[in-house]
Symmetry: C2
Subunit: 171 residues, 2 copies
């Protein structure tokens, strides 16, 4: 049984996931953030740290769920909701399904790697022992804008670097 | 480019994964073990610790890959092989794909949750940016036997417990 969340709560918790995403961005990571909510309270938070730690497991959702597991002393989270700024990948969707999270709220779609709607529909797979209720597009514009700004800055940095290399060659 | 492994090496590295699996079994965990090999050497080891740590992320493969990432200071493992006693689940297959591991050798099939051949074929998905070469059935009998013995012992313990509860009620 999941707790019914009000629209204000959904907005608030996604705001917290966006806050986590901004922390990732500030460290030069792709800005993705997540929080796990149980009984109306945040019990796990995470942001993407893959580059910083050079560890492929360090996705926002994985960190938030692991933290919630340890806080609640249970790898099963049958009353929890996950809020994440980007559609989860296969790894994270697999973990969400296995931990019996009841609801996932996500912001932007990930057409290249999303495993909830885009490439796979893992969370509604009837062959698995648990299905997850999904709400997409929550504060989507903010989540998308964060990602767009990040990749724009990356391209700008690369361009400047190339120009500097070219100039160094010519001198 | 992956290193070519000899049949003797394949046998040896799966033996190391089985050794990890036995450690899990000794702690009362479902006996699953994994090792990551790079340039002919083991660079990551892991065994299932989900119950002990009450953390859904603690699968053998995830722990082995995370260890390899940190040891090699890279979340990409484009020359690595993974050996695991059971067909990887969605979470672990997603991570394997993302970290660009070249080859996966696994032991037993997992018809209920396997994401390499059984339920999904994640590692050969052409829509993703990397495909993984897979060899299944490596030392399969030993991997299966470990799991069978484990679940047999679990059932025996449950039966004994029920009997004890019944007797306590009757006294």
């Amino acid at each position: 049984m999941s707790t019914e969340l009000t629209p204000e709560q959904i907005d608030y918790f996604m705001g917290q996931a966006l806050y986590e995403a901004r922390k990732a961005g500030a460290l030069g990571e792709v800005p993705i953030g997540a929080v796990v909510v149980n009984d109306g309270e945040i019990v796990g938070r995470g942001f993407n740290l893959r580059e910083r730690l050079q560890d492929g497991t360090q996705h926002a959702e994985l960190l938030a769920i692991s933290e919630a597991n340890r806080l609640l002393h249970s790898w099963r989270l049958p009353e929890a909701q996950l809020f994440v700024t980007l559609e989860p990948c296969l790894m994270c969707a697999g973990l969400i399904q296995q931990t019996r999270i009841t609801d996932v709220y996500y912001g932007a779609e990930d057409p290249k790697g999303g495993a909830v709607h885009s490439l796979y529909q893992v969370l509604e797979d009837e062959r698995l022992n648990h299905q997850v209720h999904v709400v997409s597009g929550v504060r989507q514009d903010e989540a998308s804008q964060l990602l767009k700004d990040f990749f724009k800055a990356v391209r700008k940095r690369r361009k400047a670097q190339k120009r500097a290399e070219k100039e160094a060659k010519n001198n």
